[in-house]
Amino acid sequence: MPRLHPLRSIIVNYSPDDQRISVYGVDKAKTETITAGALEAPIFLEEEAHKEGAEYKLDDEFARRLGVAMLNVLALSYPDLRQLITATNAPLPRKE
């Protein structure tokens, strides 16, 4: 029986001093007042995820895209971080 977790949102932070990316899990209810006024950049599984039959597969490429997107957003605020990113920015084709 898996443990029950509350609904959470993730806050990803970067600290340039000790070059640390922090991942915060925050109760979704608490974040809602913040996200209500914030810009949403939606990522649709329908567009980005691999599909096998009727099911989406969150595969390596999907995880890579999501990760690069997070780094890109942080890099807007921290140009030094931008210098460190060597991951391919463009979507990569999936091997079939």
Binding site: L39, E40, A41, L76, T88
Partner: protein
């Protein structure tokens, strides 16, 4: 159903005399017609309306009077020629009985009434859909140019006119990055607008917040578009990016008091 068949007068400077005469006769005939008689002929009005819609993308539907008036004006301007199909009736007197049976055109089947249109030389002479594409391309280019030159002025205008929802939010961030010579590359757009606009009509009509706040809102809007681009970079879908830009624009409008 293609009414806009190939009726060409020859060159503008050297028209085919016979065809020119036929078109002249058609014009006179149209002038001689009592409009109210045609207006009661629902079939004919419908056919004319279909023809006008297919031929002139800017034509807007109205009542029968409006439709016939539009046809008359198009004929007067020389955009449309009317040619009587049956030569034997041209200019001649038609017996009452024959007219009653066959209508004004001397034909029973109005599908074959040869309305013809002289196509303009510099625009596609094809379907209404092609016209739409042609117009959309022009509109899109015009909107981008205008919004680039003076975003504070034109963004709300295009938004209220429904162009934003039709064509999407103009992509300012990438456009600016791509060309160095755009007036807003790194300049203050609102100072430009203030110095070049002498009257304050737009200010009164559109301004919801102060000049300084307006500038802040626009700067925030540009940053928001940066974020959209950052997330969309590794993504392959279009919808996510489009929605992000729409969200950014909504926030921008809200910031400006709309």
């Amino acid at each position: 159903m293609d009414l806009a068949s190939h009726y060409r007068m020859g060159s503008i400077f050297n028209p085919d005399p016979e065809k020119k005469a036929a078109a002249e006769a058609g014009r006179k005939m149209l002038d001689a017609v009592h409009p109210d008689v045609w207006e009661r002929n629902a079939d004919l009005v419908q056919r004319i309306e279909d023809f006008l819609i297919a031929s002139f993308p800017y034509f807007r539907k109205g009542n029968a009077h409006h439709t016939l008036d539009a046809l008359r004006r198009a004929v007067w301007k020389g955009d449309v020629f009317i040619v009587e199909r049956e030569a034997e009736y041209r200019g001649g007197y038609v017996a009452t009985q024959a007219r009653k049976e066959s209508g004004f055109w001397g034909v029973d089947n109005y599908d074959e009434v040869p309305f013809t249109k002289e196509p303009w030389p510099d625009v596609p002479d094809t379907s209404a859909a092609d016209w739409d594409i042609w117009h959309d391309a022009n509109n899109l280019a015009m909107m981008h140019a205008a919004v680039r030159a003076a975003p504070a002025l034109f963004l709300p205008m295009f938004a209220q006119a429904g162009w934003i929802s039709r064509y999407g939010v103009p992509d300012l961030s990438e456009g600016f990055a791509a060309t160095e010579s755009t007036p807003l590359g790194d300049a203050e757009p609102f100072e430009l607008g203030e110095s070049t606009l002498s009257d304050d009509v737009m200010e009164i009509a559109a301004r919801g917040v102060s000049e300084g706040q307006e500038a802040d809102c626009y700067a925030e809007y540009e940053r928001a578009l940066d974020l959209c681009t950052a997330v969309a970079g590794p993504m392959s879908g279009e919808r996510g990016l489009a929605l992000c830009r729409a969200n950014a624009f909504d926030n921008y409008q809200q910031c400006r008091g709309y």
